[in-house]
Amino acid sequence: MASKNKEKVELTGAEILVAALKCEGVKEIFGYPGGAVLHIYDALYRQNDINHIMVRHEQAATHAADGYARASGKPGVVLVTSGPGATNAVTGIATAYMDSIPMVVITGQVPTNLIGVDAFQEVDAVGITRPCVKHNFLIKNVKDLALTIKKAFYVATTGRPGPVVVDIPKDITAQKTEFDYPETISMRSYAPVDIADKSGIGNAIDFLLAAKRPMIYAGGGVIIDNASTELAETMHLLGFPLTHTLMGLGGYPATDKQFIGMLGMHGTYEANLGMHNCDVLLAVGARFDDRVTGNVDKFCPTAKIIHIDVDPSSISKNVKVDVPLVGRVSALLREINALLKPRKNEIDTEALKEWWAQINEWRSKDCLKYDKQSEKIKPQYVLEKLYEITEGDAYVTSDVGQHQMWAAQFYHFNRPRRWINSGGLGTMGFGLPAAMGVQLAFPDATVACVTGEGSIQMCIQELSTIKQYSLPIKIINLNNGYLGMVRQWQEFFYQRRYAMSYMESLPDFVKLAESYGHAGFKITKPEDVEGALKEAMKIKDRAVFLDFITDPDENVYPMIPAGGGQNEMILV
């Protein structure tokens, strides 16, 4: 099929699409059929190389492809029909966009002659998705199709990755042309580089070596660029403390003593105070998100800031930085490491020792402590046990809310790509379909979806998909009867007026899981937590729904209230 083939065959647009996906090495597509994509589904039916995963809602297709991409590092591929197929996919596309996840989304479109006449299931997919994609295309000529698919994968996976939408009108999928797939591509308007400019590196080294109270703040860029090895070397050379953003967890081992926890709104006392008091900050593949900085006017008031990022627009967007370093995290860290190595002895070890003593004093506050004597199940306890029983080796997906923060705090991620959550957009409903994508990428791995009774109901229809493909996902439902994070804010900031945060009329999750053909357990006592988790791990042929009835009054601590500085934490 590749361009080497001298004798050109005429293929339909649908066949060209499928052949192009094969050339890209695509093994799984997540999708849902409909009128505008019937030719494509027919082409998929007539081949055996690409496995199509049939979801129950297009939102889940995008989240599953997203989870697949986050865990495997390969781009996720989605196929949906026109109109509602495309609009349902938008939440998942926006989720991937906010977290820079490589994804190619094929949307069907009404035939070319019907575009613009409000045809059945017509929507301007390119227009609707424009603000939440890295780029998008509308195919107007079947001759452009192969090249456009090549461009879509190239744009999605290089530079700062992101989702790319390709909108294909139905008539184009039926038209025939020769298939010629380019092996390489270059675009005059898009040329990502490994390092944009080396001139700041010397400056960065000088700042790092002169530091007395240094901090390293590393984000999702480390994971996306597979730069954990380089980061570990930097850490080894410098001996500095490191904090991760929510998206960075696993980039550097959480059980290493140089890791001082996650930072930000629900970050640790030591990480946030370390940030607030540092004199040199090395930001690595992180974007100074408002959940990290708190009040930007009070952010790192005494620090010189070095910022490594592949996206120039991330630099000095929210916080003005002193040394911008634009390029891939891995490439820049390699440069830095090479220059640091011969100058290691210049590190102010005395000052660093004092700084570590200060950090350890903050650490001794044990800011993540919780009541271990409680008769109610504490959500933190469930996550600690999950960590123990899976030996820290599970892929953990999560939804959004309190359970997400507890998972981030209590499951110690030692490896990259193990923590799969919607950090930027904060999409409830992400966890379960994302877990499907992860399990399909790694069929033998333990995949746990940490969720709550609110989030899980946003994509619960996927229990059916999970059954169809026999995915042994462990659903850890931290059921406190509340939209916990909403309830927590209402308790703190709205004088306990719990408007719409209490969940009534919950289903019997055990029966629900069983009705789909899965196993279900309800756990109400702390002493049963460990046994239930162990039992769940033994089940390999279907999913397990563990409905933990947890303490409804538990809050996530520490917490920086909105508008607060990093030194203004509410502690337990």
Partner: protein, 163 residues
């Protein structure tokens, strides 16, 4: 501060909306926007007049560069440049001010391109300030219609913005 940003972008359907959508989504100002194909039919040249703090302008330029369809761009305000805008004004010339209007058009080096018993249509080019000054000089009263093209700009000297 006011900035004139010149952009070369792929001459493709939707490229214009990517730029305008970027400005609305991120809350940036657009004072004017002018766009047309260039001598290279695969490229469009767009001129945006915007305003904001230095930080905002820096972000605007970075965000524009990030758009896949943008080939290259230049903040003209940073160097010596020439800017021009075309304006068509239809004025009521039916009263005793007909002669005075004609004189003002001459002073501003404009041209009367259409005449009726009651109206003149005036064509005027120049930088935006000159066009503003003309409108001020003739006053609100006679104006029936104002059409402005938005500013376009080009660098002085041999330097050229190329794709």
């Amino acid at each position: 501060m006011r900035h004139i940003i010149s952009i070369l972008l792929e001459n493709e359907a939707g490229a214009l909306s990517r730029v305008s959508a970027l400005f609305s989504a991120r809350g940036y100002n657009i004072e004017s926007l002018a766009v047309a194909p260039t001598n290279d039919p695969s490229l469009s040249r767009m001129t945006i007049v915007t305003s904001g703090t230095e930080e905002i302008i820096e972000q605007i330029i970075k965000q524009l560069n990030k758009l896949i369809d943008v080939v290259t761009l230049d903040d003209m305000t940073e160097g010596k440049h020439i800017e021009r805008e075309l304006m068509l004004v239809k004025v009521n010339s039916g009263d005793e001010k007909r002669e005075e209007l004609k004189r003002l058009v001459d002073i501003f080096r404009g041209r009367i391109i259409d005449v009726t018993i009651d109206t003149y249509t005036v064509e005027l080019t120049g930088d935006s300030e000159k066009l503003d000054a003309f409108l001020k000089a003739i006053g609100e009263a006679p104006i029936l219609e104002v059409v402005r093209s938005g500013t376009i700009g080009i660098l002085r000297g041999a330097q050229a913005l190329q794709g």
